[in-house]
Symmetry: C2
Subunit: 118 residues, 2 copies
DNA sequence: TCTACTAGTTCCGAAATTCCGAACTATGGG
DNA sequence: CCCATAGTTCGGAATTTCGGAACTAGTAGA
């Protein structure tokens, strides 16, 4: 297993963030991580709304979020702890995450809309 | 030539907007349309920054922006007039476009960052 | 009207992405 | 050591994107 890649905040690109969050499943995952006291294991997210996401897809969603600079993941025992990098991203691109998450929330998309808590 | 499709503002979905703007070329095109008094022909956008975009790609970029609800296009004589739908989108998803365009602008991406003028 | 030119669209094959099941790796317990 | 759990990687099918060539529409000139 190759080591996890986390871009430095100054290497984070807006297009990567938009691409990562342009998938409603990933946006919902990110909303959950941001909302849940900044920590969440992968397995707890396999069912979002009405859709069951297979493990391999889930794993690549996490990879996309991680490499976009939106979350930080670290192995802790058997599971993976995922923290949102909201605060860093907010400092670099003010208002971006808040606007995106509330856009999703405002049209009633599953579990979105709690970004401010970081 | 099939007629142009423009979603009603209430049918516009956040994932479509994020997807449309997650491509830097499209974001630059949208920034130009939003900045240039809300009207711009397609041909004037074939060279953005350092990259020459072929006509067929340009045409599909416009289609994506249009169907995401970001622009409105109408044929006027030989050419196409493109207006940004900023104001409508702003009313539906407050702050979204501003945050996205200034994220792009803040990392020096060609012609981005003048969204407020609509 | 016929021709030529300009602006943009459509078609379609190649290249790149995404999706997801199966096999695998890593950690912890008994 | 053997097994269970949590997640990753592989690889092929399905989908999406890119871009050249051919096409359509409007306009001007002879």
């Amino acid at each position: 297993m190759r080591p996890l890649v986390h871009p430095a905040i100054e290497d984070v690109r807006p297009e990567a963030i938009l691409h990562a969050l342009s998938d409603p499943s990933r946006a919902a995952i990110f909303a959950r991580i941001s909302g849940a006291g900044s920590v969440q294991a992968c397995a707890s997210l396999s069912a979002l709304g009405d859709r069951v996401i297979p493990k391999s897809s889930l794993s690549s969603h996490f990879k996309v979020l991680r490499e976009a600079g939106l979350i930080r993941s670290e192995r802790q025992g058997v599971e993976m702890r995922n923290h949102s990098r909201c605060a860093e991203v907010e400092a670099r691109f003010p208002g971006l995450l808040g606007a995106i998450m509330s856009a999703y929330a405002s049209q009633g998309c599953g579990t979105a809309g709690k970004t401010e808590g970081a």
